[in-house]
């Protein structure tokens, strides 16, 4: 059996039929072709697959796709505005916050969820926001520095 799924994916209305019980990770990758979303454990333990559903960070591998129908979903594919990078993306580059890059999409979305609701986070807030995201390469410090820097720069721009 197939189930209709309708989402606002990075601002675009999209629809597809997915297998019953399909998770959001598979539907984003296989039905909507958004390969920026990565899977690392497919069991809700690594944070790699983090996307925003209705603005909240969600582990897409353990989110029933059907349950998101009618909701907005944000992924890294929607972070960039044309040629311009999101401040988080530039900060990740400047701070060398990605090595293999596999955890990066999930990290960026977890960080975006934080900055969207708290533009001036403390270091503790940042650590808390990414505590469910595993990175095996960078050692976290560059990631934390990048997120804090993006927050500072974002704040300056809106001031």
């Amino acid at each position: 059996m197939k189930t209709p799924i309708q989402l606002r994916l990075n601002g675009e209305e999209v629809a597809a039929f997915a297998d019953d019980g399909a998770n959001l990770l598979d539907v984003l990758r296989e039905s909507f072709g958004d390969l920026t979303v990565k899977g690392g454990c497919w069991q809700g333990t690594c944070g790699t697959c983090t996307v925003l559903v209705g603005g909240n960070p969600r582990l897409s591998c353990v989110t029933l796709a059907e349950s998101c129908s009618g909701n907005s979903v944000e992924t890294v594919a929607g972070l960039r505005r044309g040629a311009d990078l999101h401040p988080l993306q530039s900060a990740f580059m400047e701070h060398f916050a990605a090595q293999c890059g596999y955890c990066t999409p999930g990290m960026l979305m977890a960080a975006k969820a934080l900055l969207d609701r708290n533009p001036n986070p403390t270091r503790e807030d940042v650590v808390d926001a990414i505590c469910g995201n595993i990175c095996r390469c960078t050692g976290y410090e560059p990631i934390i520095a990048a997120i804090l820097d993006a927050a500072r720069k974002g704040a300056r721009r809106s001031a």
């Binding site: 920026t36 990565k38 690594c46 790699t48 990078l85 530039s90 580059m93 293999c100 990066t104 095996r136």
Partner: protein, 533 residues
């Protein structure tokens, strides 16, 4: 900030290392932050099939029978692959460089030798269909006694793990059951030493746990070739291994890799490509074989466990006069790269210290555990852990500052190493001095003046351990030594001044071996046991 100490490395490099101390942006960083870097699993193919393997629940068992009739009729199943279907069902990773015997099947046929060993593969239209079909396979086993401890595995009468190596040890050059290092006479030195310190160290296996699990997709091409998208860290190595197992010429394989979601040594074993290619051959369709997180953590080969015994002979003045090492590397059930790790380990003994009597025996041992492989400095890392713990214990036993104890025993230029190579471009002492300064760790004057240059820069300093003194807290001034003893043992006191650095590019006299620069010098390859350029 890093700096290049030209005074130490004057004759080593002639460039000025513009990159040292400065970050360099990765060329793939833009892809990473935009999520557009293509990992192996970011390639899409119509009618992709999925491969899953059935793994042994036993550490050691004989397979009595396999019943896959129900599984082969399960919905979505396209093909079941058994050991008999694998063209060359026995391989060892380093066979490509003629090192070791073929000992590991792609799919076990009669015996399983570790928990998690693959026995049979199901190729189906979805991962879920493949998993559900695996549930329908019935295998009956006769369980066999298993051995999990390296020293137990070497005892007479121990269960033989791997028929290629009936003594449970890897064969070096077809005749040696371990690697040896002999230099001087440790037993005589122990007899004369003021103190003997013997300790045991054990390191557990460590899983690399890359965020992207091992996997590959094999795609049949129209010209009889196969394109393979893979997470491998060793592209050509995996290509040749896959060609061998599939008994096909390597020019029928086109491997595409490059962007790897973390490896750390855990993606050099060619775990998935051979079966993915075989499945693509048998079905004519693209096939993906991707490890689940559980498989990656439980059955992906880890850094091997090592057990290391170190016995040191120490003098009251802080000199180490003898070091005896006995170590066992747990290779698991088959040889992946532990055999080579042992070679690296022996090459690293006794650490960066000049010790006149060294004796080492290091074994690569087979047990019924997950085969172990490469991981970040494997062979050396665990040994260093053991050696440096031993150095701290030695310093405490002697009553000497642990940093000074290391500096006292550190290699100097011109020292003869246990491997009968002359030490050169040594800088451990200088590194220790800089580290001590930055950490505000007080060093006595003679240690601040010490040098790695030949003979210690100037005459070798006179130092003595002060047994009454525990390692002093930072900031405590040191009292000068009372009864100085020379530490330059076994080594003539020549050259009161540091030798002038030889000018570069001066041609050596005809017939003399080249010196100074290492360019063009034949190097020793311990794997081949031969010299190569």
């Amino acid at each position: 900030m890093l700096e290049m100490r030209k005074d130490i490395f004057a004759d080593e490099r002639d460039d000025d290392l513009r990159e040292v101390g400065r970050p360099t942006q990765r060329q793939d960083i833009l892809g990473h932050v935009t999520g557009t870097s293509a990992y192996y699993d970011d390639h899409r193919f119509a009618n992709l099939l999925h491969l899953k393997v059935l793994r042994s629940p036993h550490a050691h068992a004989r397979i009595r029978s396999i019943d896959d009739a129900a599984a082969s009729r399960a919905p979505g199943v396209k093909r079941i692959i058994r050991g008999a279907d694998v063209p060359v069902n026995l391989n060892t990773l380093l066979s490509l460089i003629q090192f070791g015997k073929d000992d590991e099947p792609s799919l076990a046929t009669d015996t399983v030798r570790y928990k998690g060993e693959p026995i049979l593969a199901v190729v189906a239209t979805s991962e879920r269909a493949a998993r559900e079909a695996l549930e329908l396979v019935r295998i009956s086993y006769d369980s066999l006694p298993a051995v999990f401890d390296v020293e137990e595995a070497l005892k007479p009468g121990a269960v033989p793990v791997n028929p290629a190596y009936p003594k449970n040890t890897f064969d070096y050059h077809g005749k040696y059951d371990h690697q040896k290092l002999r230099f001087g006479d440790v037993e005589a030195a122990f007899a004369k030493a003021d103190m003997v310190l013997e300790e045991r160290y054990q390191m557990s296996p460590i899983e690399h746990a890359p965020t992207e699990t091992n996997g590959s997709i094999a795609v049949p091409d129209t010209n009889g070739r196969f394109t393979v998208y893979t997470s491998t860290q060793a592209l050509f190595f995996s290509l040749d291994t896959s060609a061998k197992i599939n008994a096909m010429p390597s020019n029928q394989l086109h491997f595409v890799g490059g962007t790897v979601g973390g490896g750390f040594g855990g993606k050099v074993d060619t775990l998935t490509e051979p079966l993915a290619i075989l499945a693509a051959r048998l079905t004519g369709a693209p096939v993906r074989y991707r490890l689940s997180r559980h498989e990656e953590m439980q059955f992906g080969s880890p850094r091997g466990a090592e057990r290391i015994y170190i016995k040191d002979g120490l003098m009251r003045d802080g000199r180490i006069v003898a070091r005896k090492v006995r170590a066992y590397f747990d290779s698991g059930a088959y040889t992946r790269l532990s055999s080579y790790a042992v070679v690296k380990c022996v090459a690293h003994i006794p650490g960066p210290y000049t010790i006149p009597n060294v004796h080492a025996d290091v074994y690569c041992v087979f047990t019924n555990r997950t085969p172990a492989t490469a991981m970040r400095g494997f062979g050396v890392t665990a040994l260093d852990f053991a050696l440096e713990c031993q150095m701290d214990k030695g310093a405490v036993a002697i009553g000497m500052d642990p940093l000074e104890f290391r500096m006292l025993n550190a290699y100097r230029d011109g020292d003869m190493k246990a491997h009968r190579r002359v030490a050169k471009n040594c800088a451990l002492i200088e590194c220790a001095q800089v580290a001590a300064e930055k950490a505000q760790w007080p060093l006595r004057e003679e240690f601040r003046r010490m040098s790695s240059r030949k003979g210690g820069g100037e005459a070798r300093p006179e130092v003595v351990a002060d047994r009454s003194r525990a390692p002093a807290p930072a900031g405590t001034p040191r009292s000068p030594a009372s009864t100085p003893q020379r530490v330059a043992y076994d080594r003539p006191q020549v050259d009161a001044k540091p030798p002038p650095s030889p000018p570069r590019d001066v041609p050596s006299p005809a017939g003399a071996p080249p010196s100074g620069s290492t360019h063009g010098v034949r190097r020793f390859s311990s794997i081949f046991g031969t010299r190569r350029r």
